[in-house]
């Protein structure tokens, strides 16, 4: 009898085991004698529950789990109560800690540093130590050594994939203003493998191919010319100059400075050098322009600013020029050859994207 009545109330079919549990829980919560009629129990349970809600948090028996309640409404209510409890406890803890800190004053232990993804980053064994001789030697003899020992000046050819749309064309033009000695040429269906020897013969040091998909640039192939490495990036969040808020006037012809941030591993170092070699050596500080490549969690953010020093502790920056983000997809030794090239690094999604704290650049 009792069981049936409980059933009706719940509108659930619960087997006896859970029924017993339910009754136990209600007994616990409401301290009702189990001898009383179940309907009354229920009524009282309801009443007491509502009372409980208005009173400060219920006390839960240690083996109680919110997920064991079969009734959705009651389960939800219990869960909310539980959360409220936890939140209160957390707040109290925080207050206590703050008080302690204040009380201790100078002797307080140092504030705990919150965990960030950068803090928790899995240590990459290819991280470059600044004094590493091997790295220094490598960098002295790699493909960029010519640039870094000031033998060559950069000359960049910017082109697109076939039939570029307006946005890509404008992006190319703006890139050409940002990078000094850059020339934009239309592709007209030429094969890259034929373009490259022509560029080499005309003294270009870089070829930049901006790939387009659905009227939006989405890829970048950066090829260092006299048999240098080829890097393939995914381009996203391209913002052209007129879409920038509060931007300054157009960039002038002065050679900008270059900032490369956070390129820590060997791979990051080589990519950093790749970017550095795009720009001529001696920046003209008169122009007060700076191009930044900032690496954060394997995304490289490109920004172009004009800066002004207000005093020795404050600098104001104003963004001009396009902005975009890059993500390295592959780095290939030698000039562009997708079929037979030797790849130094390829982004393999299943291996490399498995951990949220592992980065490669």
């Amino acid at each position: 009898d009792a069981n049936i009545k409980v059933d009706k109330h719940n509108r659930n079919k619960t087997h006896t085991h859970t029924m017993v549990n339910l009754e136990k829980q209600f007994n616990f919560l409401n301290r009702v004698k189990p001898d009383e009629a179940p309907v009354q129990e229920m009524g009282q349970a309801e009443g007491e529950e509502t009372e409980k809600k208005s009173v400060s948090g219920p006390c839960f028996p240690p083996t109680f789990s919110v997920s064991e309640i079969k009734n959705k409404q009651r389960r939800h209510a219990m869960f909310l109560k539980l959360k409220e409890e936890k939140r209160k406890q957390k707040l109290e803890l925080k207050k206590k800690k703050k008080k302690e800190r204040k009380a201790l004053g100078d002797q307080a232990p140092p504030k705990e540093v919150p965990k960030t993804i950068e803090n928790q980053r899995i240590y990459d064994e290819t991280t470059v130590n600044p004094e590493d001789e091997e790295v220094a030697f490598d960098e002295g003899t790699d493909e960029f050594s010519a640039y870094f020992s000031r033998l060559t000046n950069p000359k960049v050819l910017i082109t697109t994939s076939d039939r570029p749309r307006g946005r890509t064309v404008r992006f190319c033009e703006q890139l050409a203003t940002v990078i000094p000695h850059a020339h934009v040429y239309y592709r007209r269906g030429l094969a890259l493998k034929r373009v490259i020897p022509q560029c080499v013969s005309r003294g270009f040091t870089y070829v930049m191919v901006i790939n387009e998909d659905r009227k939006v640039p989405n890829g970048l192939v950066l090829c260092h010319l006299p048999d240098g490495p080829t890097a393939h990036f995914k381009v996203s969040n391209v913002r052209l100059r007129k879409e920038m808020k509060r931007r300054g006037k157009d960039p002038t012809e002065h050679v900008p400075e270059v900032i490369l941030n956070n390129f820590t591993t060997r791979l990051g170092h080589s990519i950093g050098r790749l970017f550095a070699a795009l720009f001529p050596h001696d920046p003209q500080f008169v122009g007060r322009q700076v191009a930044t490549f900032h690496n954060q969690r394997d995304f490289i953010f490109f920004r172009f600013h004009r800066y002004i020093f207000k005093n020795e502790k404050k600098v104001g920056i104003q963004e001009l020029g396009p902005r975009f983000t890059l993500k390295l997809r592959s780095l290939q030794k030698g000039t562009f050859d997708s079929k037979f090239g030797e790849y130094e690094w390829v982004h393999k999604r299943h291996e490399m994207d498995s951990s949220r704290r592992k980065f490669h650049l």
């Binding site: 094969a191 941030n261 930044t292 954060q296 995304f299 953010f301 800066y307 020795e312 600098v315």
Partner: protein, 300 residues
């Protein structure tokens, strides 16, 4: 017996045929052996017991022929003749094989052969050119990447990072002498000098009056701003000397002012370079605040 008319009645104009595809204006035939692709009395391979087609397989053209004698043997109904790769020779082959056939079928076969030959040439030309490779994007991955990029952007705090880097470069002196306020370094240098010459300060207090202004190595008399500053300083120091007799309280502070100014002057000469001279007044004001307490302790 083969009754073509009957068959056509059954499947033809308004009847049902499983190969028929109807649009608003036209009827098409999906049968692979159809010569023209349209659903007509003369083009239907089912309703014509004598029929021929040209079909292409893996770059080679074949002529298929059907005659009424083989109508009872469906397995052997179509005769397949390989045509020559050479277009002209293939045409001759067609003519030869369909010698006494109706003009319609012969003509259409040749037309079909022409079309096929043309598109084969085009295929060969296109495969030599670069082909666009379509890479499928996984929506889940793209969404994940997008979100990670946003989070990375927030974590990067780009403006702060750039500003910090620029200020670091300024401190290190990569900008050289372009900017007029390497005051930070200047301050440090000044503090060091103060520590060295603390003993000299005591002597200066005793002799406020006799001061000598010694020329710097880089000193040029043509620099007007220098003279202006020096005049101002002299004037102010004279005034302070007069005011000393007035009140004691002011004396000390004024003495200190004097001394500090002289100190600033004397010390200021050593590390001075062109642009900093103009800032002399500004620098001195700063110093008054800083060195007062140190002085007082030494005096007493």
């Amino acid at each position: 017996m083969q009754h073509d008319d009957v068959i056509w009645d059954l499947i033809g104009n308004d009847s049902f045929c499983s190969y028929k595809v109807k649009t608003k204006t036209q009827r098409f035939c999906r049968n692979e052996y159809n010569l023209t692709g349209l659903c007509n009395r003369s083009s239907c391979p089912l309703a014509n017991s004598q029929y021929a087609t040209v079909r292409e397989e893996k770059g080679r053209c074949y002529l298929y022929m059907k005659v009424v004698e083989r109508a009872a043997f469906p397995a052997r109904m179509w005769e397949k003749v390989k045509l020559d790769r050479n277009y002209a020779k293939a045409l001759e082959q067609i003519d030869e094989n369909l010698m006494y056939w109706p003009q319609f079928i012969r003509h259409k076969c040749k037309q079909r052969l022409t079309k096929i030959a043309q598109y084969l040439i085009r295929i060969r030309k296109l495969t030599l050119k670069r082909q666009r490779k379509l890479v499928p994007l996984s929506r889940k991955v793209e969404r994940r990447e997008k979100r990670r990029e946003e989070k990375a952007l927030i974590a990067a705090q780009l403006e702060n990072a750039i500003e910090k880097e620029l200020l670091d470069r300024l401190k290190q002196g990569t900008y050289g002498d372009i900017y007029n306020f390497p005051i930070h370094a200047f301050n440090k240098a000044m503090e060091k000098q103060e520590e060295e010459t603390e003993s000299e300060e005591a002597e200066d207090e005793e002799e406020p009056v006799t001061r000598e202004f010694v020329a710097d190595d880089e000193f040029e008399e043509s620099d007007l701003s220098d003279f202006e500053d020096m005049n101002n300083l002299k004037g102010s120091s004279d005034e302070e000397e007069d005011a000393e007799e007035e009140s004691r309280e002011e004396e000390e502070s004024e003495e200190e002012l004097e001394e500090e100014k002289t100190k600033a002057q004397s010390k200021g000469k050593a590390p001075l370079k062109g642009p900093i001279r103009k800032k002399r007044a500004y620098v001195e004001i700063e110093y008054e605040q800083e060195t007062e307490p140190a002085q007082k302790s030494k005096a007493t």
